[in-house]
Symmetry: D2
Subunit: 351 residues, 4 copies
């Protein structure tokens, strides 16, 4: 067995950073060598610097790492995972790509850059082919690969196979999103206990734009032609810890039956079986009328699958259904890690 590739986590002490630690600890291909955070934390052990809020135990080896600052140089880590906030992620990620790192980022800053892939591993793996263009354009020895917003990921895992086969004309989506999506401290309890907040600033635009980029077609010039799907999003925050739910209605370009859609969702992953964290089934179906539910179903497929239920005709569009995804696993750290696995498997990253 070959040595594992050392990786760094930027923004390692936050909520998504902690999920990166859990996804990468004991990973067969990657090894956490550096955990980086704000200058306040730098110099402390990770155990001291972090307020660990996961039900899983903080892995002992990571706990003893000394936290570094989120700046160059970070030696010996060809791969860098970014859980940085969007206030600082833009420049820092660029500087790492310039310094020959492969940056897999959960931040929104570069998602819509025309030469940056917005990669959802099972849905648009071919978009990795944008990278040579990106590196040439920017004259970077490294590269940036982004993943979408958490709610978009859960949605697009379910939309991807349908769009590929039948073409999505319209998508109407109303989300009920968990508080962990807002990071920490995030949503004040006074605002959300026994309550719903009918807006998540910026989230609706992300769903509407990122979905079209993910479902879009890679052209010969390395640019993505966004899907022409019309997307309308309404986002809400609900008092749930983990698990974003979406109530989705779609209309299709080609005619399809409910059975056709179910077949789309029962397909095994198009990804190579060797990828360690790829779920065998990217979409899991529930058959009970009151599922999926965030508290019971978010962890299915180890938090890496979208769970779909209640498929039925929609009087206004063609079909409606419910999608659920784990927002900080598949919706954040998990997709970044899986994206890195694919890039490594394709030989893009020199070991």
């Amino acid at each position: 067995m070959r040595a594992r590739i050392p990786v760094a986590i930027l923004g390692a002490t936050g909520n998504v950073g902690q999920k990166f630690v859990l996804q990468l600890h004991n990973h067969p291909w990657f090894e956490i060598l550096a955990v980086c955070a704000s200058d306040n934390s730098a110099g402390k052990s990770y155990r001291e610097a972090v307020t660990w809020r996961q039900p899983e135990t903080l892995p002992a080896e990571v706990a003893e790492l000394t936290v570094g600052a989120c700046r160059l140089p970070i030696e010996s880590c060809p791969i860098v995972f970014s859980a940085l906030g969007s206030d600082i992620a833009g420049e820092i990620e660029k500087s790492f790509a310039q310094a020959a790192h492969w940056v897999f980022s959960n931040a929104r800053n570069h998602r819509m850059d025309p030469d940056v892939p917005l990669l959802l591993t099972e849905v648009n793996p071919d978009h990795l082919a944008m990278l040579p263009f990106q590196r040439t354009n920017r004259q970077w020895p490294g590269a940036i690969v982004t993943n979408a917003n958490c709610s978009t990921i859960a949605l697009c895992l379910a939309l991807g196979p349908i769009h590929r086969r039948f073409g999505l004309e319209k998508v109407h989506v109303v989300t009920l999103q968990a508080v962990s999506g807002a990071g920490y401290p995030g949503v004040p309890s006074l605002d959300i206990l026994g309550n719903v907040i009918p807006n998540i600033p910026g989230e609706e635009a992300k769903l509407e734009l990122e979905t079209c980029k993910i479902l879009g077609q890679l052209r010969a010039d390395g640019r993505v032609r966004p899907a022409e799907t019309v997307v309308s999003a309404q986002t809400t925050r609900v008092p749930v810890i983990d698990g974003h739910m979406a109530c989705v209605s779609v209309s299709l370009a080609a005619s399809a039956t409910e059975l056709n859609l179910l077949e789309c969702w029962q397909q095994e992953t198009p990804l190579p079986r060797e990828l360690p964290t790829a779920p065998r089934l990217p979409v899991l179906l529930t058959h009970e009328q009151d599922r999926p539910q965030p508290r019971l179903d978010s962890w299915r497929g180890k938090g890496m699958a979208s769970v779909v239920g209640r498929l039925r005709p929609c009087p206004v569009l063609d079909f409606k259904f419910v999608v659920l995804g784990h927002n900080t696993i598949r919706g954040a750290a998990g997709t970044s890690v899986l994206n890195a696995e694919l890039a490594l498997f394709q030989g893009l990253i020199e070991r």
Copy 2:
């Protein structure tokens, strides 16, 4: 000042029954004379029989009433309010109408009967004109007037003025509904704490059907021609005590601007000012981007108005917005009482 009309409450000990008590206590036109419940409770004082779960104090006069059974005869009460469960409401309500009572019911059993008005006071007050037909058809000295399902009421208060002016072609609605809508004991806490349940059995059909009857047109023969609006509903239960929220998208028959819609919603009530519990503005607008919220806004207009916010264009239909209503006040007891006020005001009920 004339004497108040004595009224009875059927199902008076349940959650909606308790709201009837609060809406009718100190009412200027009505006086609670009889509180009726299951045979188990009959004979006890209301204080003993009820498990009072309202933050408001149980009114002392009602507390001392002796609970009766939900069956005839109930003397001296021309008006009967029904908070009965649908398992028994159908036959009991009929028997009271046959015995010359005016029954204002929150139960679903007779809502879709072709000669029973599904009355939403501000939206279709003219539907009260179905009653002479009903009484003739059924040879009843009394009558039955129903109100819609809680989520339908909140929705239709907002849709009514738009439909009247511009015509609604399509309505897509996703609800986030409070647990009080399921009565007591209702939703187990193990199911809903920190969770969402993406289905409320039967609720979606009610929203799709009842909306069209409410928005429908009364014909000369006393029947309602349902509106041809296509309605698609997706209902969810969220961990909120009171207040049903709906994320609504609509398309209109006539072209309209956002300003037009706002004008529709700013109209004062079309009801006579004399009705004691009619809100002056049936629709209240919020202007903050994160409102309306169930915990902060359900009680606006004393729980009798729908609160609307976040009006904006919908890429899939024409417009989208958020509606909130108090599900056990306006969505249940409050509409029944207001319906009775209108019937009394119109002289339909002999004092």
Copy 3:
């Protein structure tokens, strides 16, 4: 009727500040003339500056006031209510007292100062007699009157009459406190949804110390000899919006029966009837075995009373019972306002 006394609120935009607005709006003796907040807010209208999070509507007159800074001079307001954070309250409150204002403060900074009354209106109204000593000591034309920590207030309203009659030797108290006690943004939802936090920093010491000062005896020299009651406190945070609950066990110096304790709690307020916001019964009793409950009982007595239930023998001490109080009404703004009413009624404040 005499003119109302103009008052200022320091820290008027926070959660407790908003409660001051509600307690003081339409107050028969006081009139809000100035609302003060951080320099960021100064110059804006209160409506713009505040994020109003109360179910009650923001009073229109207050909404139009221009927010001032929390510094001198504030003209024409003999009385100043302070909802300031403890990081800044100490010096600001002093400066106002020096400038001839009467400061009624909810902040903890001066509570344990030996010449500052820690006033719980019904329990130790005689402690107001400390003020002449304070003014002489400090050579202040004004004065500072503090109220206790929210959980201490709810507890001591119930303990006061027992201590007076039977003497409290030991008090063991475990609290279950609402999130509104932590202000805004306060407790992150990720920490408290579906969870309990078994510590509130600093709160246990406050309960143990402030209780003894409140129950203490005013000596001839204007100092308080603290009660010798041994108090042990354990504080927890629970996912409740408003209402602090305490599970209390006590042992008494003199022998007493359950009936004796109930008699203590059924006494009417010792305060003059003229005080506008004094509850007639400072302690309200519940008789159901599952009460008091924060969501159902916090607002009893308009949020100004402590609600006590489940009195029974304690195998370890003498008696145990449950106390509930509204933490931001009686536990904060309400006590400050009532303290000011008493000072005014006693003629201490020149109108």
Copy 4:
């Protein structure tokens, strides 16, 4: 390796029954052969009969078992685990013991029977020696072994080693208990969302009595002399899914330091290492000031340990601390299974 012993679960479809399924599935010593439930469920597959509400997947082998009734005969299962409700557990458990089954019961019916062990495996393993007396007394070829109430188990795991070494004179305990302790449907969401219920009927007496039996001494005649510890309990229900917390104050017969108590809790399990589900450390310590927390710490030690934190002096008794335990794992099914492991290991049960 020897064959696994076939076992039956009575009450297998309820919440605790589902936990039994999870604890026993893939158990190295036991194999689920029979799942029994109400007559309504009998004849269905377990998958059909159960409403599975666990985040873990329903094990496929169990799903396919046909549900039986909770009555004799159940062939080939020397061991029977009972998750029956107390309304029916008493007689059914007796009948199984008479029919030569070993019954490990979570029901309260036989806990205080003088010849029935109330076994908390690490604390009073010697109480298993009551069984020969029980079998002689009752002339049963089988036997009944009970485990305590969920909150008592979490408490006594922490108290056991202290009592053994220093003697407990007084224990004052206030619990904050999760809704899963009330079974399903259990606590209505309308009662507990954003609320606390300051009573759990019957629970305080259980804590006060069962603690003394568990900590009691087995006499030569096979009876237990209860510990003379004075226990005072106050129980509350909080909106938490899993994990009972207790705020505990104790006074000791012998003098002890905080360090002494910590040493007691750091001891490894006194149980034989071979027992498959015995946690190596029955008490786990937290060092952060705001822990243990139900949502973060209940699953530590696979839900089989008590988590203890915040040890400090108590002004009223000697020490105070916080205990947390997983109420449906260690507090129910887990202790029953561990009790059975011990009995099997000691050779009491013939394979």
